[in-house]
């Protein structure tokens, strides 16, 4: 396959960026999308040009590093798939492919297609944990958790923090990401002691980071590579409302 690529190039965070056109030849349909970019980068390097910076690591769809906005969609056209698991057979010879970084003011561009998602880390730091020190835990079987609850908590916990939800959302909202963690811990008995403060603090941090608000469009869940459900956002709303109405926190 021969392809035309329109790639966002931006030297660093402060600089202005622009779309640049490249051509790649003899792309195998069995290649992953990132392997196709590897080919481009090898070509660029041989030609003495700066290769395209992009985030990736495990290349098996679990680390959440890869974050490309391909042809107007998070992680490209295939449903339930991260960029690294997207294969070139989903494209056709002669296609023009537009590749952009996640766009959100809370995710500034580091370089080219690499963005800074540390806002997600700061939201987790605001309360996305159970406060237990190492060593004091009771026996694992001391707290029975109904299988159905454990399974639902697990489904929420599968979020890989890639940011596709923010990128796909018209409002650049991080609600799906935040809701996954909040509902995981709200469902589990371990999360109960900090249930109210957790949701209050995480939402405060989310707002501070400059993400947009949720307007229940559903793009996030539709583009989520691991299928985090919109139900989590409803749970988050409920948790927030209940916490604000009943917590002793006057701040």
């Amino acid at each position: 396959m021969n392809l035309t690529l329109n790639v966002w190039r931006q030297p660093n965070r402060q600089a202005q960026g622009k779309m640049v056109e490249y051509h790649v030849k003899d792309i195998s349909p069995d290649m992953s999308f990132l392997e196709m970019l590897d080919v481009l980068n090898e070509d660029l390097l041989h030609a003495g040009q700066d290769p395209v910076a992009f985030d990736h690591d495990c290349r098996e769809g679990i680390c959440g590093s890869c974050d490309l906005f391909i042809n107007g969609r998070s992680h490209g056209p295939e449903k339930g798939t991260t960029t690294c698991q997207l294969h070139m057979r989903k494209f056709s010879d002669g296609d023009t492919i537009t590749i952009e970084p996640w766009r959100a003011n809370a995710f500034p561009v580091n370089k080219d297609l690499s963005v800074d998602r540390s806002a997600f880390d700061r939201i987790i730091q605001a309360g996305g944990y159970v406060s237990v020190n190492t060593g004091g835990a009771p026996d694992g079987n001391e707290i029975p958790i109904p299988k159905e609850i454990a399974d639902r908590a697990f489904e929420a916990a599968t979020c890989i923090s890639c940011g596709a939800c923010v990128a796909a959302c018209k409002n650049a909202s991080a609600m799906l990401f935040v809701s996954a963690k909040v509902s995981q811990l709200a469902l589990l008995p371990q999360g109960q002691p900090e249930r109210k403060s957790r949701v209050e603090n995480m939402i405060a941090q989310m707002d501070k980071e400059g993400f947009g608000a949720c307007s229940n469009i559903g793009s996030c869940a539709a583009e989520c590579p691991v299928g985090i459900s919109l139900e989590n956002i409803a749970i988050l709303n409920r948790e927030f409302l209940a916490a604000k109405a009943t917590s002793n926190n006057l701040a």
């Binding site: 660093n12 965070r13 195998s28 349909p29 069995d30 290649m31 992953s32 990132l34 392997e35 080919v39 090898e42 390097l45 041989h46 003495g48 040009q49 700066d50 290769p51 985030d55 690591d57 495990c58 290349r59 098996e60 679990i62 959440g64 590093s65 798939t81 698991q85 294969h87 057979r89 580091n110 998602r117 540390s118 997600f120 880390d121 987790i124 944990y129 159970v130 406060s131 237990v132 020190n133 190492t134 060593g135 004091g136 835990a137 009771p138 694992g140 079987n141 707290i143 029975p144 109904p146 299988k147 454990a150 399974d151 908590a153 697990f154 916990a157 890989i160 995981q184 589990l188 371990q190």
Partner: protein, 644 residues
Amino acid sequence: MLLDSKIPEGPLAEKWEKHKFNVKLVNPANKRKYDIIVVGTGLAGASAAASLAELGYNVKAFTYHDSPRRAHSIAAQGGINAAKNYQNDGDSVFRLFYDTIKGGDYRAREANVYRLAQVSVNIIDQCVAQGVPFAREYGGLLANRSFGGAQVSRTFYARGQTGQQLLLGAYSALSRQIAYGKVKMYTRSEMLDVVVIDGQARGIVTRNLITGEIETHAAHAVVLATGGYGNVFYLSTNAKYCNVTAAWRAHKKGAYFANPCFTQIHPTCIPVSGDYQSKLTLMSESLRNDGRVWVPKTVEMAERVRQGQIKPQDIAEDDRDYFLERKYPAFGNLVPRDVASRNAKLMCDEGRGVGSTGLAVYLDFSEIIKRTGAEAVSQKYGNLFAMYEKITDEDPYKQPMRIYPAVHYTMGGLWVDYNLQTTVPGLYATGECNFSDHGANRLGASALMQGLADGYFVIPYTIGDYLASTPPKPVSTDHPAFAESKAYVQARTERLLSINGTRTPDQFHKALGHIMWEYCGMARNAEGLRHAKAEIQKLRSEFWSDVKIVGSGEEMNQALEKAGRVADFLELGELMVDDALNRNESCGGHFREEYQTPEGEALRNDDEYAYVAAWEYQGENQPEKLNKEELTFENVKLTQRSYK
């Protein structure tokens, strides 16, 4: 230097308890006067950083990722072992210890492995308390499954992503300490040197991967939790960024490197499909429970398959060779990883491999699909089948999967004593980064266990012993050793940038990987290893005269990062070859063709090689010095493994 493993005296079961009592403690009020650097934030690093911060130490944690949650621990699928005996099937700490020692082909330290088995139970409790959503039974209690190398069900799991869930647990504990200000987190920072002052590790030099700035950080102790070096083979199941750089720089500063040739090759990976391939994907070991491994009986038939003239599903039963079932009637398709891998390679070497490259064997599910129906198979393996189809565009319900072994894990690593301290005082290594507990072969579901054991339950005790004897006065980066290290790192970066040759870092990496895989992979022999050594030396000198990188060091420059890592792999590769050449026996993942039983099984030499080979750096392009730590086995009897 004499290798002192500092194994406590006394009966095996009491060693750790006694040791915990004997180690010196740091007064709670003094803990905040000590700074500890933790490099790497996977399971071993994040758990260590969080636990040390909880104790009151000031921790600086470093990762080259954009977030501490992305380390490759996240990709572990199967589960984590623990001797809980929740299933009432006869498990015990001793049994887990025994299975691990035996699985490691008797090349691990008894005392360490026993401690690992002891603390395994605490890991599960800790993770449950953190909210890790382990699989549960309908009654609400924790579920277990069985795994390779064990006859009991002791593996705890969270569907196919146990690694991610455990890492998120450790990450959440770490995040909490970051929020408290007890951990200062440095993301996108790659460690490029250890600073040693008066023989003690006192800090590190890092490169900020966004700005390119070279930074120095001081501390009273340094913990390396930087993972394994499987990527020396270029193609492996490791993540793309996985590298040996941190461990290698520590090695060059005096930390011995132990058993570097011990690498684990996992039998069930999706085969390479072309030269462009950047990474290999694991298909869970559990598939071998129901899949049957075979190749065509004759080379001619295999040739026709490779040409695409005949489809595997059309090959008659009589024309198939179910080689594992044939050779190992007792264990059949469930032989351990090293045996399964080696036999697949043997078939391909005979010319009976399949797929367009001839480097694959079939893993066939047609029988179970016929027996139980596609629906039942989908319930069990649906996600794996879907992943296989996504990558290969072949439907495993209709035609057999193609699989081939791939590098998966490295048992070797920095030599550490019982306290997890390397040969450099104040420098510790945890998780896959150390040579630790798995001997010559790691059992499934044990990597997660070891990483968390080291981080949550070992290092928090043992590091105190060292710090208690170190005065709590601040360490400053003003010491000339920091400037010296920084200058070294800068000079190396400039040298890499100034070469401006013709070949990219990836090309060198692929060439190195090819040498390693050919001659230091699943089967090795003296002649091949000697050839490989010369090839690696040649490649290394070519690298330093012909590598091409563009741009500068003062910006985000992924080619530069890559080049630095490849340069270190080029040195490590030679040491692996040396180690493999030195070990004139076959054990676990190390198979020397000269040393095998008449049936072609690994032949250990316990009289001469029951030791840890700890290599000591002697300077640029100098042969390394071998130091031996003899392994004594007082609690298990050394036997030959047999799976017939």
